[in-house]
């Protein structure tokens, strides 16, 4: 019984995803919106593993999604002429995305994670720009012209499967990424890793004195978070829109969105990024219909207000509200 109750907090998360899936599948014309919401929930959940659990801000987070996208794109363009690989190519693409984001997070982490607080933020703020200008400047992977692999994808999978992949199955993959990120978050929270990260978030010096290897746990959280970002980039960007341009995949805008989602829902909570992603995605969708171009103008002050007045976010507030009630075990 104990082992099952451990997973109670996952129930609301899975319920939200299940409802989203049902709405998207059964209400006509809704799938696109649901796909966008799933993307934002997954983004929030992946970002939360690092920002929420360590209290460090990675301003270059989108770079991991960027290299993940390149992982998939490079695999597809390179393996297109090999006969009979089919879906194996996609699998290899995801592995490459994982590899690229792991390598990048190791490289960035090796420098940045030695630094604390403000210095860490400074070290990461240029990662996406730096990488973008490296790819453009040294003309790697076709430089600023980018990679376009619509034809290759059609050649590998056939036109029909490729289009089904772009309009439906890629979103299902995003859903799986979101769910696994939620599961990993819970796993971390309920293990030594989570306790160590909480200790270091509250007081890094004290945690060190207590004998916690803070660097090791920071690296674990950093790489995990980066890997989910890489997979998300591969599934949601490379497979849905079969082209990749450096200025688009290293656009700091997505880091901003990830920060908004996590803070809105509640940093370091399990359900927070899902709620944050839903609220952000829905408001972005409707704002882009009724007031196009105003999303950030509206969200920037909201974020400032959240930081100043209720830094714990929506789920953080609910958590305090329902403390010591039977609902408490579902909301973490």
């Amino acid at each position: 019984m104990k082992t099952i109750s451990k997973y109670y907090p996952l129930l609301p998360v899975l319920a939200v995803y299940f409802i989203m899936f049902l709405v998207g599948k059964n209400v006509s014309g809704m799938w696109q919106l649901v796909a966008m919401l799933l993307f934002y929930c997954a983004l929030g959940q992946a970002f939360n593993i690092f920002l929420g659990m360590t209290g460090y801000v990675d301003f270059g987070y989108v770079a991991f999604m960027g290299v993940g996208t390149y992982g998939m794109a490079v695999t597809i363009t390179q393996l297109a002429h090999v006969e009979g690989l089919g879906f194996l190519v996609i699998t290899i693409g995801f592995l490459m995305a994982l590899l690229f984001s792991t390598l990048l997070s190791l490289a960035v982490g090796a420098v940045a994670l030695r630094l604390k607080g403000a210095y860490f933020a400074i070290a990461t703020i240029g990662v996406n720009e730096g990488l973008r200008f490296f790819i453009e400047g040294a003309r790697i992977w076709n430089g600023s012209e980018g990679l376009i692999f619509m034809a290759e994808l059609n050649q590998i999978l056939g036109r029909k499967t490729a289009s089904a992949l772009a309009t439906f199955w890629a979103d299902i993959m995003v859903l799986f990424i979101a769910m696994s990120a939620a599961y990993v978050t819970l796993l971390f929270m309920r293990s030594k890793i989570g306790y160590a990260l909480t200790a270091l978030r509250e007081d890094e010096e004290a945690a060190k004195v207590m004998g916690i290897n803070v660097t090791k746990y920071k690296i674990i959280a950093f790489i995990t978070s980066a890997c989910f970002a890489g997979l998300l980039g591969a599934a949601s960007w490379a497979l849905k829109t079969p082209y990749v341009f450096p200025p688009e995949v290293f656009e700091i805008h997505y880091t901003i969105e990830a920060i908004i989602i996590v803070l809105l829902g509640g940093a370091g909570t399990l359900l927070g990024p899902v709620i944050g992603g839903l609220i952000y995605g829905l408001s972005k969708y409707y704002l882009s219909i009724y007031m196009p171009g105003f999303q950030l103008l509206i969200f920037a002050p909201i974020i400032i207000v959240i930081i100043v007045i209720f830094p714990e976010g929506i789920i953080g507030m609910l958590k305090n509200r329902f403390k010591d009630t039977s609902l408490a075990r579902f909301i973490i």
Binding site: Y56, G126, F133
Partner: protein, 295 residues
């Protein structure tokens, strides 16, 4: 011929560097006094650029007159954001102030986009050129360089000779000790934040005197990154360190552009920007307190 090219590049690099240095002093001042990293730094530079553009294009005022206007606007913005937001975050975890300044930057970008639109703009301030023999320097660049040097000097005098400046230095040393000695620490924080933002907005004016094109609400991002590199070069907490860091960075940027242009098949401009990021990582790795710091 080769010697001339080198000297010409050194001069260009130093002129550029002085403006870069000026553009980083505000960041370092704010970090030195409030221990807050202004992640929205570039957005304030962008505000300065738009003030210059607006004064020049609609009122026909010279960019030199935009300097006091920009400083006033910057001070007001600084006081506004200090009293509404930053004041409550000084004691909060770093995460809060980083995200707050980041959001302030986005807010400024979006407000400017709402007013001016997001297309690239520029202005044409024809004040002639100065031929130095080894290189030709537009007068506008020279004015920007002289302006930066004067402002840096004024800041130095203000810091060392006035009462408010001394109070600020005492807060940098030890804010609790300063409070015990009767320094109005909260007032000093507000003043430092306002002056830091004021300097940053002014640097936006000087930067457009240097590069009067490509003015756009989102132009600040690249400057934020450069300012961080320069600030870290100079030790992050010292405005003068930042000024000299700027000179060094100007030389590096100009020199590396010249060298990258010699390699066939690459885009030198993009590689120069990549290089600034690499420099940042290397300095943070080997000497996070800054190359020019004495400690």
């Amino acid at each position: 011929m080769f010697f001339e090219q080198i000297t010409g590049n050194l001069i260009q690099g130093l002129v550029l560097g002085s403006v870069y240095g000026m553009a980083t002093m505000g960041l370092s001042l704010i970090f030195g006094v409030l221990k807050i990293v202004n992640v929205g730094h570039g957005a304030f530079i962008m505000v300065g650029a738009f003030i210059t553009l607006w004064l020049f294009n609609t009122l026909g005022l010279s960019p030199i007159l935009a300097i006091p206007a920009a400083f006033a606007v910057g001070m007001l913005l600084g006081l506004l954001f200090y009293y509404t937001t930053m004041r409550r975050l000084i004691k909060a975890p770093e995460l809060a102030s980083l995200l707050a300044t980041f959001s302030i930057g986005i807010l400024l970008e979006e407000v400017i986009k709402l007013i001016f639109g997001s297309e690239f703009r520029g202005y044409n301030w024809a004040v002639g050129k100065l031929n130095l023999g080894v290189t030709v320097l537009p007068m506008s660049k020279l004015y920007a360089c002289i302006g930066s040097a004067i402002i840096a000097l004024l800041l130095y005098i203000w810091f060392n000779k006035t009462r408010a400046g001394t109070a600020m230095r005492s807060v940098v040393e030890d804010s609790e000790g300063a409070r015990v000695c009767g320094v109005n620490v909260d007032g000093t924080y507000a003043m430092s934040f306002a002056i830091g933002i004021g300097l940053t907005v002014v640097s936006g004016v000087l930067l457009t005197m240097f590069i009067p094109v490509g003015i756009n609400p989102y132009m600040g991002g690249g400057y934020t990154l450069k300012a961080f590199v320069i600030a870290v070069l100079g030790g992050l907490a010292s405005p003068y360190g930042a000024f000299f860091g700027g000179l060094v960075f100007g030389l590096i940027e100009n020199g590396s552009y010249m060298l990258f242009a010699l390699i066939p098949g690459v885009e030198p401009f993009a590689l120069t920007r990549f290089l600034s990021f690499v420099i940042l990582l290397i300095i943070l790795l080997i000497r996070p307190t800054g190359l020019l710091s004495t400690k």
